[in-house]
Subunit: 524 residues, 2 copies
Amino acid sequence: MPITGKLLIGQSAVSGSSKPINAINPATNEPLEPTFAGGTKDEVEHACELAEAAFGIYRETSLEDRAVFLETIASEIESIGDELIERAMAETGLPQARLEGERGRTCGQLRLFANVVRAGEWLDVRIDPPLPGRTPMPRADLRQRHIALGPVAVFGASNFPLAFSVAGGDTASALAAGCPVVVKGHSAHPGTSELVGRAVQRAVKICRLPEGTFSLLFGSGREIGQALVADPRIQAVGFTGSRNGGTALMKTAQARPQPIPVYAEMSSINPVFLLPEALKARGQQIAEGFVGSLQMGAGQFCTSPGLLIAVKSPELDVFIETAAEKVKAIGSQTMLTPGIFYAYEQGVKRLSNSGKVREAARGKAGDTPNQCQAGLFVTSASDFLNDLELQEEVFGSTSLVIECADQAEVKHVATQLGGQLAITLQMDDGDLPTAKTLLPVLERKAGRILANGWPTGVEVCHAMVHGGPYPATSDSRTTSVGSAAIFRFLRPVCYQALPEGLLPHSLKDGNPCTISRLVDGKRE
Amino acid sequence: MPITGKLLIGQSAVSGSSKPINAINPATNEPLEPTFAGGTKDEVEHACELAEAAFGIYRETSLEDRAVFLETIASEIESIGDELIERAMAETGLPQARLEGERGRTCGQLRLFANVVRAGEWLDVRIDPPLPGRTPMPRADLRQRHIALGPVAVFGASNFPLAFSVAGGDTASALAAGCPVVVKGHSAHPGTSELVGRAVQRAVKICRLPEGTFSLLFGSGREIGQALVADPRIQAVGFTGSRNGGTALMKTAQARPQPIPVYAEMSSINPVFLLPEALKARGQQIAEGFVGSLQMGAGQFCTSPGLLIAVKSPELDVFIETAAEKVKAIGSQTMLTPGIFYAYEQGVKRLSNSGKVREAARGKAGDTPNQCQAGLFVTSASDFLNDLELQEEVFGSTSLVIECADQAEVKHVATQLGGQLAITLQMDDGDLPTAKTLLPVLERKAGRILANGWPTGVEVCHAMVHGGPYPATSDSRTTSVGSAAIFRFLRPVCYQALPEGLLPHSLKDGNPCTISRLVDGKRE
């Protein structure tokens, strides 16, 4: 199964004709073959045309057929075998075990959505039976279900070349909702993208779905992505990446004659609050857990713990000392791309040079290209609050400790935080009163609050929220991980007094899909 | 209970200091006392400051306390008595029976939301129990609930001075969600607004809620409204009105440092498809129903049937003839405001002067101010498709019949429609195959599809969708009428491994709120 460097448009593989892309092996800075010639607006047009043509059939596939399609994608990805892992390693510098785990997560996620589709909760069926005798006016028969929005544009992320890329969470949830997907593959891992894209393409064929159900485009720069979001057939956008990238897509989406929703997961520093009793009882253990979380994947996670907040105390000093020792021992790790490495270095320099920040530790420097050298820095709450730049995400294994005068200042820092994906409390029983005063503030800042764990490692389940207030995401009302992600690509439709023969299957009398329904406001 | 012309900020009544507003009795064009001096940015600031201060307490009121608050608002509105109806009649020109019905609907809506709050479905509780023995990684305890977004700005609509105004659907659903509300009252009915505002103010006091739970501002022009939407404490916006007004608020909301959702319900022409068998069997009866719907409230409904689409046929001729006779008999009705009357006249002129449209009938002209003279016009599908202006809403009792060559052209017209609140099918059993080919097109265009009824009369229930694709609304994923409207003002939060003592009440073990929950993906 050679990688060809082609765009996948429906069932075709097409050679692009604009600026070529080569993946770079970040461990060596050497380009990888083959060259991917970027697509043009013509290919965007063609993919969107096919997606629109597929939509009518795809959105009304039966729950079972759609579930089987998602499962087929998973098994086709698995059938690629080692080639996928090897290519992803070469393109991202990520280690084998991590990528094998990510493949498992990606396929598990597709299978979870298959079961979500089958369960039918996403249809949010509501039935208000007719009240013909009601005065002064009778009530008609009213039934509601959710339908798919239309073709969705998905942007692959650099940091999860499988789980947040071509067949990642955005694609899985959009397909689950009944939306055809046009992916703009990330230029950092085009070979991995093509391999996965071909797996999806095969699944479309095996399941005899319209070819426009899935397409995969490549293109350097922003031209292809912007054209995709501006295309009138695209009805929603899923994106994981930088704040600049995300806000640019939001602007394009809002400027369309018909504005559309953009689900951009952007930047987060994922504060960790170290409460006093926990620090006293197990500061060293917490330091160990923290450094473990910080070094995972060279800190290239949306949920990396980039901020630690605590009252200045001897126990905090011990924590910092212990963490610093452990940070010094962190070996260098290859970052995903030269661009991410450059941005990381700039971010660390911003901290070092701010004059308000003290370096507690740096990890080991590497002698090969694009090596992330971990960092731990310390500043005071007042300096942090006076310098908004210190709140900016440094994407990589670097974290900043904020020393506060007292618990009141801890709470004040909390109120000044921007929107976050996750906020962590390290707390013991004796910290409960403190945690209780903090929680109402933290809830307003984040999509997920966790206690005595670490924010990295986002469970793909029903209760997960991988989201949060701006600028963590563009739309705090949603999650991009977990089964509730499907709701991003749906909208409700009410059917009033429709004859049984015209009603959608899921709304017919007798509940033929055997799904949970809200009948007259009561859950059945 | 005299009307004072003051702004209601928390528990205070405050005199404004900017441009004064007087309601105009549209039946006479005479100004009504008292004068409302408009608010300034200072009052916007103050109301938002109080709303923010109230939010922490209000959002965590118990389900029962919040439900009782909504019910108290309803009974306080009812306790105003005839004064409310008389003032609303004078300010809007709407007849007594209509306003009494609207008051009933408004109070019924508040009571529906009280029960929605109690039922707790809106919390969307999801629990994924821990899997400590799972390999390779254990799963933590994960629980999700929805929380209120924050203070909400609500804009009163002119056409429902009670049901879509100060204590209308937006306010009721935002309060139900746990959001304090700052209302910008509509300048056409400030007296009605003050009366209702004082009822809400009293309910806040009776229920011992923080005063900032509710405020009511007035102001002519857009300054106050724009300042309100731009205020950093406001977290969402509810609006019903013109497309210009709605899109201006969308722009302001998007330009904020933190963009926020705007739920604007804007413009819709609510097409009615007259299918051939139905026209054959009961064309005259359909004409009667149509004209009844068209003349309701002088056509000043978001859901007025502004477009009729059918194949040209002798039966359609009979329908048009019958409808025309009935339109000629429609007496003139006072419109809501001189501005709305002027816009209506311009809209009708645009039809009359287009050169592509034939006048089938006009209703009776009035000899008092601001009288809506009904209208029925006819054009061909090709002329309609060539002139986008003919798709623009004419707010008032005017409708346009589109004659199509055949059913294929009917379907083509359907594909060219903009987003709509409601689409109606008049159909008999023999029309089922035709309706089946149309439905997939119509579903993509509207929030509600109805058969053999009329779009006016929007039931306030669980299955209702009063929404639809742009430009009908700014956000097709929502409804502004019915219990699902509450979801507009909520976002999910996930709690991971929180100690029982820190968990929100609704998420605690044993389901103490006795609400429906999704446990491990299964409905309980």
